[in-house]
């Protein structure tokens, strides 16, 4: 798994701005509600393999609810 995103579901307000900027379009609205009653954004496990780790979603998130992780192989370049 080269990259992954992590949503802080307690912070997500379900505005879905992240879905608009994701270049691969893998972010979607889930069917789950968080404690405040917002339908949170998610990336399903199958879709996560397509994540490039560009962090655009984190850049536009007004609530700092997204963390992006990238894995690079020892030789450089994405694994």
């Amino acid at each position: 798994m080269p990259s992954r995103v992590e949503f802080r579901e307690d912070r997500c307000k379900g505005c879905l701005l992240c879905t608009e900027v994701c270049p691969t379009g893998i972010i979607q609205q889930s069917n789950r509600f968080n404690q405040k009653g917002y339908k949170v954004a998610e990336v399903t496990a199958e879709m996560m393999t397509e994540c490039k780790g560009c962090a655009f979603c984190a850049m536009i998130c007004p609530d700092y609810a997204i963390n992006v992780f990238k894995t690079e192989s020892a030789k450089g370049g994405a694994a």
């Binding site: 912070r11 701005l17 990238k70």
Partner: protein, 253 residues
Amino acid sequence: MNQEIRVTNYPEVLTDRASHYCPGCHHGIAHRLVAEAITELGLVDKTILIGSIGCSVFIYNYLSLDAIESPHGRAPAVATGVKRARPDKIVFSYQGDGDLASIGMAEIMHCANRGENITTIFVNNTVYGMTGGQMAPTTLVGQKTTTCPGGRCRENEGMPIRMTEIIASLGGVAFAERVAVNNIKNIKKAQKAVTKAFECQTKEIGFSFVEVLATCPTNWRMTPIQANKRIETEMIPYFPLGNFKDVLAKEEK
């Protein structure tokens, strides 16, 4: 061996607490831009924040800086006092359009004209957000608000005020730029503009001003995504993005 690295590094000055802003509100992005700029320039320990009245009134909860809350519209006047008393500090005000362009028009004009060495971040969402969506001086023609339910009309209320152009025309201003945060390209430009504005202050060359076009999905009666699109389709055509004054760039040439 593969090592996982974290791409997102939120600056420490942003406090780790949920904001009171509505879903999709651009205030959160604007807060982060300010936090990143002062962190990048290493100014965190000597920055004083002047809060204003509006939705951003609680900004002192989200940025762990020394802060003063000013009366409605008077943030530039308070900032002037703070800067003159403590010229070694970095002082900035963070204001909305109802605050800066309406009740605070006199303060911002004279502060800019005197060339006070402060920075103002002006978040323009074309509406009074906190008080329930009344018409602001920046409300676009045709836009419906609670105080102009038929839409703002030019004959009665005049045209929306373009603040950055007015500020840029004043003598004491070193930097004036209008930015948006509706997509990644614009966010990156906005980041540079905010950083430059603070840089101008560190070089003590005059007043620096950044206008951020922002959404107010709640008072525009739109979904966050629709509101984000409105920035592109309606706001940017009337409020053109770009730099209107940059004394620093001129000096470099």
